[in-house]
Amino acid sequence: MLQVEKVSKSYGTNRALNNVSLTIPKGTCYGLIGPNGSGKSTLIKIISGIIRSYEGGIKYVGGVKGTLGYVPQDISLEEKLTARTNLEFFGQIHGLRGSTLKKKAEQILKDIGLLDRAGGIVESFSGGMKRRLNIGCALMHNPELIILDEPTVGVDPQSRHYIFNIVNKLKKQGKTIIYVSHYMEEIENLCDYVAFMDKGNIVEEGEIKELLNRYANTAVYFEAENPTKLLSKGNFTFTPYKTGVIIQTNDPLKTFTELVQLSRDHQFIPEQLSLFKPRLEDVFFQLTGTDLRDQSEKGE
């Protein structure tokens, strides 16, 4: 288990982290979400030992410390050298030698789908291939805690698929993963826990399923041409959402049935009628009043 206890960090007058506390259970995938400048990178640099001057404490319980693999957002590789040389270099830094080193490099090359390009110069690789190698280098010493900072930024679908497979494989092996991303759907699909960061603070954290339930506005999604025409005939509270409307309700099944009946009665055919399943994006919106994607794009 990894415990972040009241960690604060300032750069001059700018407070990057403000009393941040987190508990990351061993063997789980923990997502960190937040817009640019929210303090995510500072937090993971503190956890991975890159930033050593900060207030508060990081506690490792259960043998996580010492076996940490950090995958930076930047492609930090020796691009003039081969994929194999890069992997072997990071293996050697962690004390691997001889046949163990060679075997491990071979296995990682296979895992990241670059076995056939092992002798290729990294400079000639696509962005996605470099990202995969960037991850592979952090896995050479078989770490217990793996920190991935925006691992899918600017990658092609094939590489994204590989990266997801790697993360899922690590999860199956019981590794503890901290996954930082702008993409809510990635966090939702890959992670068990999530923490939302904004302006140096954790605005919410917890198990994703539990959070979605807690923040779920039990609702029904209704999409049709001129939906108000039909909805005004019943007693519904609704708000526009994407190309349709969200109907707030305490009993979604009952509302759903009422809408089916109302549509039948008025010979109205909806384009889409479904129980509304909230996404992390909706939770973030409720917590901060802003859309993460908009904030990130502004930041970028």
Partner: protein, 246 residues
Amino acid sequence: MWPLTQIETKKQIKDKSLLFWTLLLPIVTIIILIELFSGNSGQKTLVASQSITGMSVFFSTFVIISIVISFVKDREKGMVARLASTPLKTYSFFLGKCIPFFIIIVLQILFLTAIGVYLYDIYITDYASYLIVTLFISVWLTSWGVAIALYAKTENTGLVMTNIIALVTAVTCGLWTPFEQLPSYLQTIGVILPQYWAHQGLVQFVSTLPGGENLGIVALVLIGYSVLGFALSLAGYRHFIRMARS
């Protein structure tokens, strides 16, 4: 430390610009100088002795460019930060990166000297002492290279600084022309610079050249300038590490 030394060496071997600055350009320059300034075969050895010792010191300065590029690139692409998350110690990082450049400078000077010995009959009176001077030159230039690298904001800073150092010292320290032929005001400036002592240290052990300075004094001066380089590096390394990690 050794994995870093190995990978840095591999990187530098693949770098064609380093090959150009450390070997191709010095060899071409030396040949041109010898052909231009030696009237007969008797003068050839004399001109070669001046050119090879002078150009060895002059062109070895350009390794500073490669040192700066290597450190700045590692800082900018996040390699320094990434390595900070591994068991690699900070001093191992610096040592591991410096060793290849130290070796490159030594090999460069020895290679250029070998050309002089085998092609132009330069006679080295004491190979061991010549090697000792070469080692001191290498330590001093590596320390300066690291010092500049740690304060450099971009790779261009290294390029500009190195060119200024190389050209100014070449003129004032007698690396292009015999020191005795320089105007006295230039000689006054020259003797306070390490390039003068480095050159005179090599000249001391080349029989065909007049002059040269005592090995003890040469060693003392070059150690002094190396200490200055390392002190500046020590003062700048926190700033470099902070920039790299934040």
